[in-house]
């Protein structure tokens, strides 16, 4: 056979952002969406799932600032070719729960729960008085 007609298997690198802390201002949406889209693109996610991840970002940016601690939202993200996990940090438990409630839309329901495989609120190991919102997404 002539030429490279088959593509050899190459293991995909995982893609990660250790920490992204953004002021609750005009840069929140543009920066978060770009960073998340880069992380998922690098992990070779399909475009339709990437667009759904943008819905998650939009929902967090629309409602997060109302519940943010000290006017900032802090994220981390890692992704491989099949799944991704985004964490949103530094919430009081009631604020995290209120944020999740706020992302519900009439008819559609909760945007985060519709798009994500799993949404949970877990205690922060470093700060027992704070919680993290964990959003798990899958590429398929």
């Amino acid at each position: 056979m002539n030429g490279p007609t088959t593509r050899e298997y190459e293991p995909k690198a995982t893609s990660a952002v250790n920490r992204l802390r953004l002021a609750s201002g005009p840069a929140l949406g543009p920066v978060l969406c770009r960073v998340v889209s880069m992380v998922l693109t690098r992990a070779d996610w399909p475009v339709d799932r990437l667009e759904e991840a943008m819905l998650v970002c939009d929902a967090l940016c629309a409602h997060g600032p109302r519940h943010a601690n000290n006017g900032h939202l802090t994220f981390s993200m890692h992704a491989d070719e099949s799944e991704a996990e985004m964490r949103v940090y530094e919430f009081e438990r009631e604020d995290a729960e209120a944020l999740l409630r706020d992302t519900s839309l009439p008819v559609v329901g909760n945007v985060l729960e519709q798009v994500a495989d799993r949404v949970s609120v877990v205690s922060d190991e470093d700060d027992p008085e704070r919680v993290q919102i964990v959003i798990a997404l899958s590429a398929s």
């Binding site: 802390r21 002021a23 920066v31 770009r34 889209s37 992380v39």
Partner: protein, 150 residues
């Protein structure tokens, strides 16, 4: 002052693209002119490339931290690492133009070591095209720029 954006990533070459995109989002949000944003992205790319190439031994993966803040007519970007920092390297794969380029693109570049044993490159860009007075921060070298290549 708390920065508008703090981004911490593994110090890998491919992550410089994430920094560039994040700066693009920040610039877009604050209406930074595209030509100025190109200068900022190029200078920050050089600083991040220095971290990737020089800061950590090849068998060690460290962190690259970028803080960016827009305050009135100035944008300040700080790039940090916790490795060797910038030092002469005989086998350097680069052309050795990084610092000169940063100095040409920014109005002020400050290099130094912070209190947390990190190396820090702090670049200040004027957003209104007006050249500013230099300041010397204790323990830091200050390079003077000419506000862009153009």
């Amino acid at each position: 002052m708390t920065p508008d954006m703090e981004l911490t990533l593994p110090a890998r070459a491919e992550n410089i693209a994430i920094v560039r995109h994040a700066l693009g989002g920040l610039g877009e949000a604050f209406g930074v002119p595209e030509s100025k944003l190109s200068d900022i992205r190029l200078a920050v790319t050089e600083a991040c490339a220095n971290v990737v190439v020089h800061a950590y031994p090849e068998d060690m993966e460290g962190a690259m931290e970028v803080h960016a803040n827009i305050d009135g007519p100035e944008m300040t970007v700080m790039v940090r690492d916790w490795g060797h920092g910038i030092r002469p390297r005989s086998d350097s794969p680069g052309l050795g133009l990084g610092l000169s380029l940063m100095a040409a693109l920014a109005e002020r570049v400050q290099l130094g070591h912070g209190t947390e044993e990190h190396t820090e490159v702090r670049m200040t860009f004027g957003l209104d095209g007006v050249e500013r007075t230099n300041e010397v921060i204790s323990g830091m070298i200050t390079l003077t720029g000419t506000s862009g290549l153009a």
